[in-house]
């Protein structure tokens, strides 16, 4: 008889119930699932109706009871939020238990502290469910791409905004209408700020960057722009020019070829972004997520799937539990950890200022419909070293016209300098929108 591995669950919401359901129905799954035993489950309210049928003897409303139970070897934290999640995770680690969490907010902000504590205690903290829902992305980054120099990670990693943008793009519906419907359908929270303002995506790209580039990321320094100010007109123009619009989270190495900088310079940002329709990310619709990784020598790989939901997220949580169960079979000597699975940081990273980032820019200008205005604008960009990919006039009528400029890749500083001159032109009424393109 093989020894089972005891799991304590903190939280029995949709994800927690999904995890319990998998553990309780092991037939047809990997045989290791049948060795996972649910020991103790902490819930907020002992009386509430549950989505999983859990013996009431396992339930407690005191998470400490779960963490301190000597039969619990792995603590699964699916409460969410910063506190008490952070303290509970640290206490579990201190108790010598490995932790599995879906909590991106706490990992993006306190990942370093948690990783250091785990290293000291000789336990694992696995976070597959924190990014991309069910998509295997954390473990592949840690265990399958280690031979590469990662150059760039680009992701559609917030399902709510992708659902909203997909519907805006498909139906020409307005942002507010779609958001309201998404809330009614349960795809958006009653308070949608974390999603629509890009904060959730910023948490996740902070986590992905730290893994891909091997160093902790200052979450608060990530320039983040959500979709709340996105104008449907820009979605339409982007479509006409052969682009889709997605809320993209990007982390890119700006290292020069000699690999000599003591701290790796990274450009990390979250922003509505024009994506060429032939790019694989442009086809990612609805609540799906996708993460695109570029590295040397692998080239480009993409991981695609359901970015949220009880089932997919529970699948990711159980994957982490199984990984710990599998490795615990080996019986490690003197608290040593698998260096791929522990994912400690191995270099220092720094986020560069927005001005240093080289990107293609999308600009929409409101202008008088007068001959020569395109030429004037084009000249200014040329004088500032901004090379133009396309400049197109839309919707000319007596009230004026709109000019959409897409630049080649260039530092934001040069675009800003050009715009300062362009805005002084009599024929130019103002800059109506600014985005980036990949």
């Amino acid at each position: 008889m093989v020894k089972s591995i005891g799991v304590g669950l903190l939280g029995l919401g949709t994800v927690g119930a999904g995890v319990a359901n998998i553990i309780q129905t092991p037939e047809g799954r990997h045989p290791l699932v049948s060795e996972v035993e649910l020991i103790r489950v902490a819930v907020k309210d002992l009386q509430r109706q549950r989505k999983a049928s859990i013996s009431s003897t396992l339930l407690t409303n005191d998470p400490i009871e779960v963490i301190d139970d000597p039969s619990v070897e792995v603590v699964v934290e699916v409460i969410g939020g910063i506190e008490p999640a952070r303290s509970l995770i640290l206490r579990a680690i201190k108790n010598g238990k490995s932790v599995v969490t879906a909590n991106k907010a706490v990992i993006a902000r306190h990942g370093e502290e948690i990783a250091a504590a785990a290293k000291e205690a000789g336990v694992y903290v696995l976070i597959e469910a924190a990014v991309g829902g069910g998509i295997p992305i954390i473990e592949p980054l840690k265990q399958s791409l280690g031979g590469n120099r990662i150059q760039k990670v680009s992701g559609i990693i917030n399902g709510t905004t992708n659902y909203i943008l997909s519907r805006i793009e498909k139906e020409g519906a307005g942002y507010k209408d779609v958001l309201k419907e998404a809330q009614e359908l349960g795809y958006a929270e009653a308070d949608p700020a974390a999603d629509v303002e890009g904060l959730d995506a910023a948490d996740k790209i902070a986590i992905l960057s730290a893994l891909a580039f091997g160093g902790p990321i200052n979450r608060e320094a990530i320039p983040t722009q959500g979709i709340t100010n996105l104008n449907i007109r820009d979605v339409e123009y982007a479509n006409k020019l052969g682009y889709g619009v997605k809320l993209l989270a990007v982390a890119e190495s700006l290292e020069s070829n000699n690999h000599k900088e003591s701290s790796l310079p990274l450009a990390v940002w979250v922003q509505p972004t024009l994506i060429p329709k032939e790019h694989p990310l442009a086809e990612v619709n609805g609540v799906n997520n996708a993460i695109f990784v570029e590295g040397d020598p692998i080239g480009e790989v993409m991981f695609y799937g359901p970015g949220a939901g009880a089932g997919p997220t529970a699948s990711a949580v159980v994957a982490d539990i199984l990984n710990i169960a599998g490795i615990s079979r080996l019986g490690s000597k003197n608290n040593s950890l698998d260096p791929l699975l522990e994912a400690s940081s191995w270099r220092s990273c720094n986020l560069v200022k927005a001005e240093r980032i080289i990107q293609k820019h999308y600009l929409r200008l409101k202008v008088e419909d007068s001959p020569g205005v395109i030429g004037q604008i084009g000249s200014v960009f040329g004088q500032n070293g901004v090379s133009i990919q396309s400049i197109v006039q839309f919707d000319a009528n007596e009230a004026g016209a709109e000019i959409v400029v897409i630049t080649h890749a260039v530092a934001l500083g040069k675009v800003t300098a050009s715009l300062e001159v362009i805005k002084t032109f009599k024929a130019v009424q103002g800059l109506s929108a600014q985005m980036v393109c990949i």
Copy 2:
């Protein structure tokens, strides 16, 4: 000072050289790469010019010297083919060394024998590079999806045929012309049979099925049809009806809901397949590969990337080396293995006969352009319980016309029975093409 891990390389072709290049330039990669040491390299011809600069003291033309070298802990087999690869792998295992191989042919045919030997010796045999080139798919299947009941794995897993099909579709060029160009560009071998006849894809789906469903697959029993007889006309018709054509490899569980059958019935096949243009697999072009996995509770996930090439394949080989290096840090007790990483089989699978497989079918019939023929044909399908999704007449002229039928999902047997009647009609000159759709 951390102990390094000694690697012996069998083969120094493009993939072997790629692996050596990664190991010899660890800067900017995961720090574990710098602990991998190339101990010994077996090559066929000691005099040949190399793509990697290897000290001549490491080279030998005797693979046994590599395998028997006591400093070699991991043997990397990138020779390819069945023998001597199989014997060398078994000898390395017997010597107590873990093996990393990119050899799909030997794993598809002798995987069971090799896995049993590895289990007995307490070593790992890792095969990430055998399917999907650089795409992490083997380890995610083993380590990230174990909580799921896998229902279906569908893959575009042969880069050569996908390159050829993409060009046929895009340019309307003929199969033979594109094949010739692909050969000149190095995307197809001088003898392209293994690729264009679907044998390589069948090897790979055999490997993926065994991992996804947990039981060995009889490679020789996989119904396999390549692209050599694919008519450009069917690609055009498919396009008009909203489909792309891909060489698809599929493995699907036919298990009933009660999970009670002692051996899991699987439908496994390789065949040119119509894929709806909105399906993520339809967008996989050129030499790229993609593997689409459906499971409960994860839903659908897709892994996409370069399916071949020295760099991507070397990335996958190094991932496996790092996994072994990482786990060897733990110092396993009494030859125990991580049950996820060892990937032994845990149930029995059987391949069902083609007649039991439920699919949508594409049929092209040559007919006289006479009124009523569509009605006649439709009636026969109806009488045989075949429900029709669409029936369209193309290219009517004095020489006749062509009718394309796409059925709803139905067992092949019913389609075959219908066709036997339809072929007897005076107005029907023959069945020109038959494919399946997803």
